[in-house]
Subunit: 196 residues, 2 copies
């Protein structure tokens, strides 16, 4: 069997294992005692990142990458600060994680994001071979994991991701909603100044 | 009218203008004399980038960002070299273009890529407000512009991109196919060594 074929077989076996584990976790209560506490903890770290974005005037989204219980990458939205259209929280966190691991593939890692990832970030999650994605609130406009496209659940990209949304959902949603509430207020008062 | 509303109206007007221009260009021959020569020229620059990736042992994809006839960003796939799962040609070129322009939004710019962009890169193209995407060969596996998803043509993301595929298609396809042909040969001979 050629190396390429062996790699394909190994990838297929890994997918079957993930499917099997997902099926067990989804039908049992083990998941809730096993995952949820750690999920809350790491989502709080992602929320801290989101607030760091807000303090810079950036749309407040935060993310952390966790491997074997340790944070190996952190990021918050820095599109304006870094003059970089790709500097979303998830991308920044994935790049840092790859650097700290010395590997561009992060097999076994979990990505926590306060908001459902967009198409760019969902694609990056696949390229980085993230095993599990945990996010806070859905993004009804640009969300590309559940809301639109279903990018992390497709069959043609040789990698599937376990997905759990709704972790600390209210808190994650509030951070972003209060940011836009404040922004609208500022915009309106700026306009009032403009129009005398 | 509030600032947010005015911004929405302006964005909607811009979309209508793009639709109008696209309609004219698609139904006239002007496009062929006006665009095609420059397209070939810039796609050749993207091909040079693709070959730079190949020389580093990376999957050979190249991209350039062009604004008002000048290249403002270049990139080739450097995922392994930079230990960065997001370092696709398009992402590298977009980041460089934003830096050189001092703006994370690249309105009016054209992105040339040798291969149809994946979900991550298609998403980045939207975030960067690229006006036109020109690519060489379709990617039947991961292409997310025409082959899957149609990420650059959606209505819900407030930005639409003019798309032209098939520019120097044969050459773009050959660069990538010959890379994988060579790789398969190397893999097979490596296996022969392994098995004695």
């Amino acid at each position: 069997m050629g190396l390429a074929t062996r790699r394909m077989v190994a990838e297929r076996e890994a997918l079957i294992q993930i499917d099997f584990l997902t099926a067990i976790l989804r039908t049992s209560n083990i998941r809730y005692s096993f995952f949820m506490e750690a999920d809350d903890e790491f989502m709080r770290e992602a929320l801290t990142e989101a607030r760091a974005a807000r303090d810079k005037g950036e749309v407040p989204v935060g993310a952390v990458v966790v491997l074997e219980g340790a944070v190996i990458g952190r990021g918050h939205n820095e599109v304006i600060t870094l003059t970089d259209p790709t500097a979303h929280a998830e991308i920044v966190a994935l790049r840092e994680a790859a650097q700290s691991l010395g590997n561009y593939r992060l097999a076994g890692a979990v990505l926590y994001s306060t908001i459902e990832p967009c198409a760019m970030c969902a694609g990056a999650i696949l390229h980085a071979r993230i095993s599990r994605l945990v996010y806070g609130a859905d993004d009804p406009k640009a969300g590309a994991v559940v809301t639109h496209f279903g990018i992390c659940s497709t069959d043609f990209l040789n990698h599937r991701v376990m997905i759990d949304g709704g972790i600390l959902e209210a808190e994650c949603r509030e951070v972003i909603q209060s940011f836009f509430r404040e922004k609208r207020k500022t915009d309106t008062s700026a306009e009032r100044c403009e129009s005398g």
